[in-house]
Amino acid sequence: MPNMNMVQALNSAMDIMLTRDPSVVVLGEDVGYFGGVFRVTESLQKKHGAYRVLDTPIAEGGIVGAAVGMCANGLRPIAEIQFADYIYPAYDQIVSEVARLRYRSAGAFSAPLTIRTPCGGGIRGGQTHSQSPEAVFAHVSGIKTVMPSNPYDAKGMLIAAIEDDDPVIFFEPKRVYNGPFDGEPDKPAQSWAEHPKAEVPEGYYTVPIGQAAVTREGSALTIVTYGTMVHVSLAAAEALGLDAEVIDIRSMVPLDIDTIAASVSKTGRCLIAHEATRFAGFGAELSASIQEHCFWNLEAPIMRVAGWDTPYPHAFEWEYFPGKRRVMNALRRLMGEAA
């Protein structure tokens, strides 16, 4: 099976769907001739033509609005927003239109649209190239919200998203595009080459949206996480020699609470880890849902590790980023040790 990094896996998913389904189109800023600023759409225009892979004006609201119209006329667009930090001009189209179209028209219209967007920090991008706004979209009823953490899931979930008859916002943690990241910036960059989740079938397959993955089995505690923080969490648990179960939720909406609750009920302890700001972040929803399902099995309060509640600061990337040490400290407290 070929080895792919996340960029190649995402590219393969779009290539396959452009080939299989003539209604699929790709649109976004710099995605055509250039192949995208992260190369995710490389060669797609050359292969599938300029009517299927469209360079667009710099207008996120226009991209999403036009995609809604394309949906109404039978196409199945994949819209790229170049950075999640630039998605806000499209917020009205996403919240008021994409997410509500099926509901308000009683099913007469819908928007089977996939919005791909790179998110997250760790690349010295400052506050306009580092944000993780998933909670802002998970809060809106009517749009599925997902974030894969590895090449295998990225490809399978993107194909599932494209085929989904509901709109999906597909966050791509760009720090792990080219390799897993354990939260230690001073170590040499890792590649996906040796990683089992970089073995990606060349052809079509799907990874269902709405299913969490147990990335590491364990019995002492559960770490509920997603995106880049899956890798940081694994590294922290291993550094402490803890028998931790790590759950990659993969999908925020719909949330696979059964898998999460089964794990936390088994271990009795839960840490939630994400890069996004903590206050009213997706961790708050996770924490509330977990305590509703697992309260009588909990042996300690649910804890959260997240980004600080500030904009993402350029100079303080590694003071801001919830790295391995912050996760380790939280794990120690969760296990009842003094930090």
């Binding site: 250039f34 400052g126 306009t128 350029h314």
Partner: protein, 417 residues
């Protein structure tokens, strides 16, 4: 049946001959200069035309030729050359890993340098990320700008912003955003406030032609029209928005300046590499705004001679030698030649100024680096991260700050993680 779907045609891709036949270059001096109170529609022909002052023999000709003394022209040249020397050094600093990111304004230096001279010190500027010339022209020090690029202990942004996102409240230059076009309606709002308060200052804003696709551009023009806001709104058409050609912003067969009259404000299209022409149209628009005749949309036709940013590689999407074929030349060369023609400048003085500017840039760099870089020397206090989120630190941020300080103390005691 031929397709009704149109894909904008890019004149030349890598390996092909550059083709700027779509740029209609009018003769210098041909465009008429209307009175500043001309009705909006009276500017419509000028919004499709191209105001040019410097002719092929480097003389200033026609009704737009401004009456600028040699001292002022040399000041403009100085700013453009300083901008270029600064850009060159900072580009190298990024390549050497000293700063994380940089954006040069190579080829479009006249846009900022000439406008800064045409506007008054009290006028408020809302720049985009490629207007470093405005900051240099208004006298910000190289050390202050470099310190922002370095996110060091002298950084005006206290380490919070990506390089080039400067500001100066003192010199009346608004904080640059990484998000596109947001400054355009803000400039109009500033101008509305000046009018509401009965003050004579005006606002000026800049964005790239690619950014005119954003809704904020249209909001700005609508508000400027409705309230006759005293603002000068500049579209810097440098032909490229990262990899997408100006046709993808709607530039095919129609100028960007024409959107001014289309939306109810004056529009002018100018040779953006002609310092004198940029000065002249900016002065005209500023006078019109100050006299209460409303805003003007100015399109500066120029060329982005460098990459979009240090993260970009234009060899992937356009011919490498495109700038050599650009019909409007190099703004520095053109102003230099004009001064030489006037007998107010020569090659020796040019060489010596160039050397002097390189030295002052290098000297400033050494000083700026002494205030620290991202990885070496004095560092900003990380607890600054929590300040200015709000005017006063709320309890949850206080708690997070304390948690970080404890973590950092622990990191200091341990070599790993």
């Amino acid at each position: 049946m031929t397709s009704r779907f149109h894909v904008p045609a890019v004149p030349a891709r890598p390996g092909e001959q550059p083709d700027f036949s779509y740029v209609k270059v009018a003769a210098a001096g041909d465009a008429p200069r209307p009175p500043i109170n001309v009705p909006v529609l009276g500017t419509a022909p000028l919004a499709e035309d191209l105001v040019r002052v410097l002719d092929d023999r480097h003389r200033a000709v026609g009704p737009w030729a401004p009456k600028l003394d040699a001292e002022t022209l040399r000041r403009g040249l100085h700013t453009m050359m300083l901008t270029r020397a600064f850009d060159d050094r900072m580009q190298r600093a990024q390549r050497q890993g000293r700063i994380t990111f940089y954006m040069r304004s190579l080829g479009e230096e006249a846009v900022s340098a000439a406008a800064a001279i045409a506007l008054r010190d009290g006028d408020m500027l809302f720049p985009s990320y490629r207007n470093q010339g405005l900051f240099l022209s208004r006298g910000l020090s190289l050390v202050d700008l470099m310190s922002q690029l370095l996110s060091n202990s002298h950084d005006m942004c206290k380490g919070r912003q990506l390089p080039v996102m400067y500001h100066s409240a003192e010199r009346r230059i608004f904080s640059i955003s990484g998000n596109l076009a947001t400054q355009f309606p803000q400039a109009v709002g500033w101008a509305m406030a000046a009018a509401i308060k009965g003050e004579t200052d005006i606002a000026a804003a800049w964005l790239g032609e690619g950014s005119t696709a954003e809704a904020d551009f249209h909001h700005a023009l609508t508000f400027a029209k409705v309230y006759k806001a005293p603002a000068v709104l500049n579209v810097v058409n440098n032909q490229w928005a990262i990899s997408t050609f100006q046709g993808y912003a709607g530039g095919e067969q129609r100028s960007f300046a024409a959107r001014g009259p289309g939306m109810g404000i004056a529009g002018l299209r100018v040779d953006g590499n002609d310092f004198l022409a940029v000065y002249a149209v900016t002065a005209w628009a500023a006078e019109r705004a100050r006299a209460g005749h409303g805003a003007t949309l100015i399109e500066h036709v120029t060329y982005r001679a460098g990459a979009h940013s240090t993260s970009d590689d234009p060899a992937r999407y356009r011919p490498k030698d495109e700038f050599d074929a650009w019909p409007l030349g190099d703004p520095v060369d053109r102003l230099k030649s004009h001064l030489v023609t006037l007998g107010e400048w020569d090659d020796a003085r040019h060489e010596s100024l160039s050397k002097e500017l390189d030295e002052s840039v290098t000297g400033a760099w050494h000083e700026a680096v002494s205030y620290g870089t991202l990885n070496e020397g004095p560092r900003l206090d990380p607890s600054l991260m929590f300040e200015d989120v709000f005017k006063e630190l709320p309890p949850h941020l206080l708690a997070q700050r304390d948690e970080l300080l404890a973590e950092l103390a622990e990191r200091g005691e341990s070599d790993h993680a």
